[in-house]
């Protein structure tokens, strides 16, 4: 019996624990079990009665109970008065967190009043723990940054000291062409280009109508991604003219954006509007990009207005953006990820900044292989190398779920319009 168990390791044991419980293994056998097994068995089988301390004292007389006395007699630092029974729950929460920290749980060392209130407002125990873990990770990162900063400052100081010692250097006359004002020049150049894009650039719309579908955390993530996207666009050779549509002034979205951009918000070279994209552009030139779309994007069209939903979707609600496009009777497309990549894990929803970089790349080069570099490497196992002839067949296989349309390039436009003529 035990040999059989040894061969198969713990998995069998786990699945068989029901059978194991009824009979205890005779002592002789148990000696044969390996250490791992011993552990599993003893955790499943009611504990073996160890010789009790009262009946037979251990062979060497060890002082085992002395620590209790010191522990009990040690005067409390925070003596619990009888008056503290009806205390404030905030204090109780704080003490609970402290105890968790002593236990080595992932909770922050210092917690502000506001964070404490948020923790108190968490409905369930698990949400409390998640929030505290988030604070703990944040605190850890902050500490790490600070130590790094101190280290850097120390090395810098040392470098300066060393330079002061090397005073034997001659003062050589040096000729330069430029003053060191590179960053500023870059900014200015990007500003000019942005202004140019505002006048003549291809519009790219971010649909900001998802504020009420998101929790505060998701909203913060979305705004982070928007900032990132805007930055990538700014640095590009031929930027898009970005529109933030459906952005309600004073809404959660707007507040968060203003908080992050601060005084730069009013100087950004993009268009923000409370209007919808269907009011700004002709309906038949709008293409809504969504991963749920049945139509696959084949080429990037320079005369279309692409709409990206600025929405971090961690909820279980599927197809919100597709539903929105259906309601407004807009054409939809999704990226041809399955056609070019051997997809592995993860959702096909990409982040906004990845989307932005892919679109910029397509706009400048038109090559899918080049553009799909920005899809995270962890999500796919490499590019598919397929000859164009067998491509259709293969894509159809891979995309069982999607009715993949094999239209020639130009007829797609007509097709997507037709979809809504009914």
């Amino acid at each position: 019996m035990s040999v059989f168990l040894k061969m198969n390791g713990s998995i069998i044991l786990r699945s068989l624990d029901r059978f194991l419980v009824p009979f205890t293994i005779p002592r002789k056998r148990r000696v044969l079990c390996s250490g791992v097994l011993q552990r599993y068995l003893s955790s499943k089988i009611p504990a073996v009665s160890y010789p009790n301390k009262e009946s037979t004292s251990p062979p060497e007389k060890l002082e085992l109970d002395s620590w209790k006395i010191t522990m009990k007699s040690s005067v409390q630092d925070v003596s619990a008065d009888s008056g503290s029974k009806d205390e404030d729950p905030v204090v109780a929460m704080k003490e609970l967190i402290e105890m968790w920290r002593l236990l080595g749980r992932e909770v922050p060392e210092h917690i502000s009043e506001e964070e404490l209130k948020t923790a108190m407002e968490c409905v369930s125990k698990s949400s409390k723990k998640k929030y505290l873990r988030y604070l703990y990770i944040k605190e850890k990162a902050k500490k790490a940054r600070q130590t790094k900063k101190e280290l850097k400052a120390a090395t810098k100081e040392k470098a300066i000291k060393d330079q002061l010692l090397e005073t034997t250097k001659e003062d050589k006359q040096q000729n330069f062409l430029f003053l060191r004002l590179w960053d500023r020049n870059m900014d200015t150049a990007m500003g000019w280009k942005g202004a140019q894009a505002m006048q003549f650039g291809q519009p790219l719309v971010f649909d900001m109508d998802y504020g009420n579908y998101m929790k505060p955390k998701e909203l913060r993530n979305t705004v982070c991604q928007l900032l990132e996207s805007e930055g990538w666009n700014r640095r590009d050779v031929d930027p898009f003219h970005i529109y933030f549509c459906n952005l309600q002034v004073g809404g959660v979205y707007h507040k968060e954006l203003v908080r992050r951009y601060e005084e730069k918000w009013s100087k950004l070279l993009l268009t923000t509007t409370e209007k919808s994209y269907v009011d700004l552009f002709p309906k038949d030139s709008i293409i809504y990009l969504t991963a749920d779309s049945p139509n696959v994007m084949t080429t990037f069209k320079h005369d279309k207005i692409y709409v990206v939903g600025s929405f971090v979707d961690k909820g279980t609600q599927k197809g919100i953006s597709l539903a929105k496009a259906k309601r407004l009777k807009l054409a939809t497309e999704c990226l041809p990820l399955d056609r070019y990549l051997q997809w592995d894990t993860g959702t096909k929803n990409l982040t906004l900044d990845q989307m932005m970089r892919i679109l910029l790349c397509l706009k400048n080069t038109g090559s899918w292989e080049e553009a799909l570099r920005f899809v995270p490497k962890r999500k796919h196992a490499g590019y598919l190398e397929i000859s164009p002839s067998s491509q259709e067949e293969l894509v159809n296989r891979l995309k069982r779920s999607k009715t993949f349309n094999s239209f020639p390039k130009d007829s797609l436009k007509i097709h997507t319009q037709k979809r809504w003529l009914k």
Partner: protein, 582 residues
């Protein structure tokens, strides 16, 4: 692809015969042949021509193996043995064993090879052990965690604590104390538990949930069990106590004969919307054996009704407790037996008929409304359909006579991977049409376009024999199926293999979900098998509802067999039948 694989395999009968280990081993030898044969024939070597090989392809390869096995299973034996019903406990387990996945389960590597001491050590020995330790963790907390995992004796742990205290002038950290307490609780060393409790009271103003739980669990067996209740109050200050905390307190109260307190705690637990552990309920029944009191009996009946209303099923041991309690009631002569129920809904023990699976008319109407509101609309009609399409559908349903059977066209057509879709659909439809049933076939528009798998002539035949409704390709067809079935009335059944779990999840409260599940069990036909000559065999629908029920002088209680793993969308098959001898 599936059809092709199969013909590929069929053309290699020798391969099958000469490879008896196919279903067991990793199947490499077979796989290479398999791939060669399948793809070699079709000149599709390009299928796996990725830049990177092997390591990342395991998924695809596994999938192929699984598919091949699946095909083989299908080819060689019947799909599902007919004795397990779609919703019967254990059915899903069986299904999962039919298409096995290869698991590369390996033992976790043993990182640290320190032998845990089996007897108390003195401080020098502990020092030596610490030197041997090479992990990155803190030695003291690591070793006590290991001890807690392997249930070392309390004395060994105590010697560790003594050593730690000696090093830090008599102070032992909270984490060590809690783990030591855990060991004491496991070994039921009540005096030690009380000692630790005193120490914790002296040192800390407040503990955390883990410490409280252990103390409560430990104290209830001692004379100071009432202090566990004070600890429960402490827990309440910061969070809702767990059902385990309540379970321990209730067990403690019953252990010390304080029945009222136990019931009060039970009420409090229900008040927090916690679902009590079945252990807790069992404790009440176990205790009830020694009590002869009508009030107590009524409360136990209330527990049984609670099980009924929340669709909970006792475990086997709990069922035994219930039986024992019933049989211990004086003067009532209850007789209990473990039994099963016939398909006709008759209890094999007493011959009584079990409650019908059919919903009452109010329940039916409310379910219909909820399906419309939550599943089809769900706050945004455009998610699953469009208003135009919904209107088209509703008009269509109104114009047609009530249906007898609603068929999920796509699901049915894809039941048999090796047969052509439209052919399968036509077989099912014509077989049912012969029985003069009003049929509705739901599908999507792409089924009407000529394709090798969807032949136009066959679809025309289908449309002759049944009413058809084709939704847009990007709409969902299942909600329409549910609505059409509910709209036709209580006699109408629907055919699909889909378990409808995602639609059940759209319903917001548990009560409606239970209703939906009950209706589903009573109205869903599943295709079991297709015999040559295109005869389709359906699974028969149970006529009775699996739920705790009473007629006053009899109780029927379904329970979970210890040996059967039951999934949440299945119901138990075993029953405890209790009746009063008159």
């Amino acid at each position: 692809m599936m059809t092709f694989c199969f013909t590929g395999i069929r053309s290699l009968p020798k391969l099958w015969k000469s490879n008896p280990y196919l279903g067991l081993g990793p199947g490499h030898s077979f796989l290479s042949l398999f791939l060669e044969n399948c793809y070699g024939i079709r000149n599709q070597q390009k299928w796996f021509s990725l830049k990177t090989v092997s390591a990342q392809n395991t998924k695809a390869v596994n999938l192929l193996i699984a598919k091949a096995r699946y095909l083989r299973n299908e080819g060689s034996s019947k799909q599902v043995s007919s004795d397990t019903h779609l919703f019967a406990a254990g059915a899903a387990k069986k299904r999962s064993q039919m298409n096995p996945h290869r698991k590369d389960d390996a033992l976790p590597p043993m990182r640290n090879t320190i032998q845990l001491p089996t007897k108390p050590l003195n401080s020098e020995e502990w020092d030596r052990l610490k030197e041997d330790f090479k992990g990155r963790a803190n030695f003291e907390s690591w070793i006590i965690s290991q001890m807690a995992q392997s249930c070392s004796s309390v004395d060994v742990a105590k010697s560790l604590l003594a050593w730690v205290a000696a090093k830090n002038n008599g102070i032992v950290g909270y984490d060590l104390l809690v783990k030591y307490l855990y060991l004491c609780v496991v070994h039921k060393q009540t005096s030690e538990i009380i000692d630790v409790y005193e120490i914790m009271k002296a040192r800390y103003k407040r503990l955390e949930s883990g410490g409280y739980t252990l103390l409560i669990q430990g104290l209830i067996h001692s004379d100071r069990w009432r202090e566990a209740l004070l600890l429960l109050e402490d827990v309440k200050k910061v969070m809702i106590p767990s059902k385990k905390n309540y379970n321990d307190c209730i067990e403690g109260a019953l252990l010390h004969q304080d029945v009222n307190l136990a019931w009060n705690l039970y009420q409090e637990l229900l008040g927090y919307d916690l679902i009590p552990m079945l252990k807790t309920l069992k404790a009440f029944f176990d205790f009830g054996k020694n009590i002869k009191d009508d009030q107590y009996s009524n409360k136990l009946f209330d527990i049984l009704l609670y099980l009924r209303n929340n669709h909970l099923y006792p475990e086997e041991s709990f069922a035994h407790s219930i039986k024992t309690w019933f049989e211990s009631v004086p003067g009532e002569h209850w007789k209990g037996q473990f039994t099963t129920v016939k398909e006709s809904g008759q209890c094999l023990g007493c011959g009584k008929t079990i409650e019908s699976i059919h919903l009452s008319s109010e329940e039916y109407e409310s379910l219909k409304g909820k399906i419309m509101k939550d599943v089809i609309d769900g706050g945004d009609l455009y998610k699953k359909t469009t208003p135009q399409e919904l209107e088209r559908f509703q008009n269509f349903v109104k114009c047609c006579p009530p249906f007898d059977i609603v068929i999920d066209g796509l699901n049915v057509a894809k039941t048999f991977p090796k047969a052509r879709e439209s052919q399968v659909l036509l077989d099912v439809v014509s077989q049912l049409a012969k029985q003069n049933l009003e049929l509705l076939v739901l599908g999507r528009k792409h089924m009407l376009t000529q394709h090798s798998r969807w032949r136009k002539d066959e679809m025309k035949m289908v449309q002759k024999q049944a009413s058809c409704f084709f939704a847009d390709n990007i709409s969902e067809d299942d909600p329409f199926l549910l609505y059409a079935t509910l709209h036709s009335g209580n006699h109408c059944k629907f055919i699909t293999k889909d378990l409808m779990r995602d639609h059940k999840a759209c319903l917001h409260n548990a009560k409606t979900q239970h209703l939906f599940f009950k209706w589903q069990r009573g109205h869903q036909l599943a295709i079991l098998n297709r015999l040559p000559g295109s005869k389709i065999i359906f699974q028969n629908i149970p006529s009775y509802d699996t739920v705790v029920q009473t007629t006053g002088d009899s109780w029927h209680i379904p329970y979970d067999d210890d040996m059967v793993e039951r999934y949440s969308y299945e119901v138990p098959t075993k029953w405890l039948c209790l009746h009063r001898k008159t």
